[in-house]
């Protein structure tokens, strides 16, 4: 049946998108859980990762044209992750740490400033035009049931799943994870227990940045394009996903990401039919915003978050 096939296809597309959103949302949620700050510049870390990978792949390919596609992809990620981690650590140290006790407006505005800075630096280094991200993995369609996928899409879902499981293990089973949870709950008491809050916060930013770097490389592979402004919309949507799942809650970010991806894919796929052609799929981005507003107005703690009382 045609419509069942479309449905399964859109569900799969949603899973792919959702895995990306989940990876990025994890960065937002971990930082918010620990320092109560929305890292506005997180989307731009993704952008830096994608563009760095682009340059690394181009360089590697130029030096050694025999490297297979998956090797280049690996090189791209290996190049992107350290750069993003470094930038994120720098951001935290220079722009966020001095403002940890400032009124809420200050770190938010600083974050906007950092975001603009990253975008303009990217504009200077990589130019203003959209750059093509090469197709590193084969784009032959593979049929899974009624849906058609590519190796890249499968990689996105698989890699994201592995990373998320690894992150959960890190947070639940390791000392660092325990330290992160403790600092998120109460930094002072955690310090009394021997945790170095500055180090833990730095580690949180670093992990978030690494996730964003991987997500950036995959996003660029999926859409075959990278440019200085590419981080804004995915960043915003990932933030929506984090809020949807309950900000500060790691499984929530994962759930929120997948859900948002599904909502967006199914919505974009079916809105034509539902609105009799009034709204087309170019309104796709609006879905995420509508979800965001709906969640914040109706259930601000998110799906998995705890109810927190109003504070002045």
């Amino acid at each position: 049946m045609g419509s069942w096939d479309t449905f399964v296809q859109q569900v799969f597309n949603g899973l792919v998108l959702g895995s990306l959103y989940a990876l990025i949302a994890l960065g937002y949620t971990m930082v918010y859980g620990i320092v109560n700050l929305i890292n506005f510049a997180h989307g731009d870390v993704l952008m830096v990762g994608a563009l760095t990978a682009l340059s690394a792949v181009a360089l590697a390919h130029g030096l050694a044209p025999g490297i297979p596609g998956w090797g280049l992809m690996l090189i791209g990620m290996l190049a992107a992750v350290p750069v993003c981690v470094l930038i994120s650590l720098l951001m935290e140290r220079v722009a966020y740490r001095p403002l940890r006790n400032a009124p809420r407006l200050a770190p938010l505005i600083t974050a906007i400033g950092v975001s603009i800075l990253l975008q303009t630096l990217a504009m200077i280094i990589w130019g203003r035009n959209h750059r093509t991200f090469p197709q590193l993995l084969s784009s032959d369609p593979i049929a899974i049931g009624p849906a058609t996928v590519t190796v890249t899409k499968l990689l996105v879902v698989a890699l994201s799943a592995i990373i998320m499981v690894a992150l959960l293990l890190l947070v639940q089973r390791t000392r660092l994870g325990r330290a992160m949870r403790a600092t998120a709950e109460n930094p002072r008491v955690a310090a009394l227990m021997g945790v170095n809050p500055n180090a833990v916060i730095a580690a949180t930013f670093a992990i978030g940045a690494a996730l964003a770097a991987v997500a950036g490389v995959m996003y660029a592979s999926l859409y075959s394009v990278a440019h200085f402004y590419m981080g804004f919309i995915p960043g915003l949507k990932a933030f929506t996903a984090a809020v949807l799942g309950g900000i500060g809650n790691i499984p929530g970010a994962m759930l929120g990401g997948i859900l948002l991806g599904l909502i967006e894919a199914l919505g974009a796929g079916y809105i034509d039919q539902f609105s009799d052609g009034l709204f087309g799929s170019n309104y796709q981005d609006v879905f995420a915003f509508i979800v965001l507003c709906a969640v914040l107005i109706l259930r601000p703690s998110g799906l998995l978050g705890e109810r927190v009382a109003d504070r002045a």
Partner: protein, 381 residues
Amino acid sequence: MASFGGTDPHRRAALAATALIAVVLLVLPLAAGWLGPAWVRTLAFAALYVMLALGLNIVVGFAGLLDLGYIAFYAVGAYTFALLASPHLTDNFPSIARTFPDGLHVPIWAAIPLGAAIAAAFGVLLGAPVLKLRGDYLAIVTLGFGEIIRIFLNNLNAPINLTNGPQGITLIDPVRIGPLRFDHGASVFGLALSSLQLYYYLFTALALLCILVCVRLQDSRLGRAWMAIREDEIAAKAMGINVRNVKLLAFGLGATFGGVSGSMFAAFQGFVSPESFSLMESVIVLSMIVLGGLGHIPGVILGAVMLSVFPELLRHTVGPMQTQLFGRILIDTEVLRMLLYGVALVLIMLYRPKGLWPAPQHGVAPRGVAQPPPMPPAAAA
């Protein structure tokens, strides 16, 4: 003894300052005209941005509601004027063309209030669902709203062509006051004024009106209610302030300023497109009030003027300087301008978070009044 300005030296000084400012404002475009039309245009835009900054200041500075989608109201005002005073509606809707056979040319004394009213309606519409949100969440949701409006403006060209999509609306009427058409120059008091200079005077007059409104609002019950909400919402509620209405009024009034400047922008430029209303514009207006002094009207004006004039200065100095030093333009001045915005935002928040010209502190006595000795510093918590 009656004398000019009374015998009080402070009042005399204030009046002298006002007179000086008035003279400067009147003469400025003529002086700038000598340097070139680009500078007069900059001054006109500076006046527009002053209005925008004052509007955003009501929402962010007075009421403490961080609004990152403020440019949406500017867009609404601009598109309202564009629809009312251009051939777009008559071209695309035969029923409207029949009702207005001479074309739709709403005069500005009707279009500005309409633009302001519609923008205010949007402001209330935006404010209503976000009343419970604080700080970061409010910022993100308002940003989302701003983007939604831009996406709609970009896409409402099918099935009914309301906004003409990414191509925007062109052939917007210029401002017409009596026999004076602002897109041609005019001779006023024997002086030949160019079109840009005429717009400058109009915008400055409107900006002065906005300043007056803001100053009166600041000292009114409403203004004090806003500041109470900004400082402590629960305490404000306990004092009997109707927080919901006061917040909606903040959004609505702030949006009105945006709507008025938007309509004027549309008339000035003659064409509007969704590109002019991006998130970056919202951020620019926000940087103006943050840089100048959040919540302090003179500071906001300073910030708006500085950040409007500075890019022009950059263009005229850094461009040639780069060519001289490096033989070519290394960094485009547009990019440099954005880079400096980002750096400025971060530096200001780190080192001078209250802005360049902040509001005077509560509890700090004015000059000339004896101060009590400072308290010893409290033991660190």
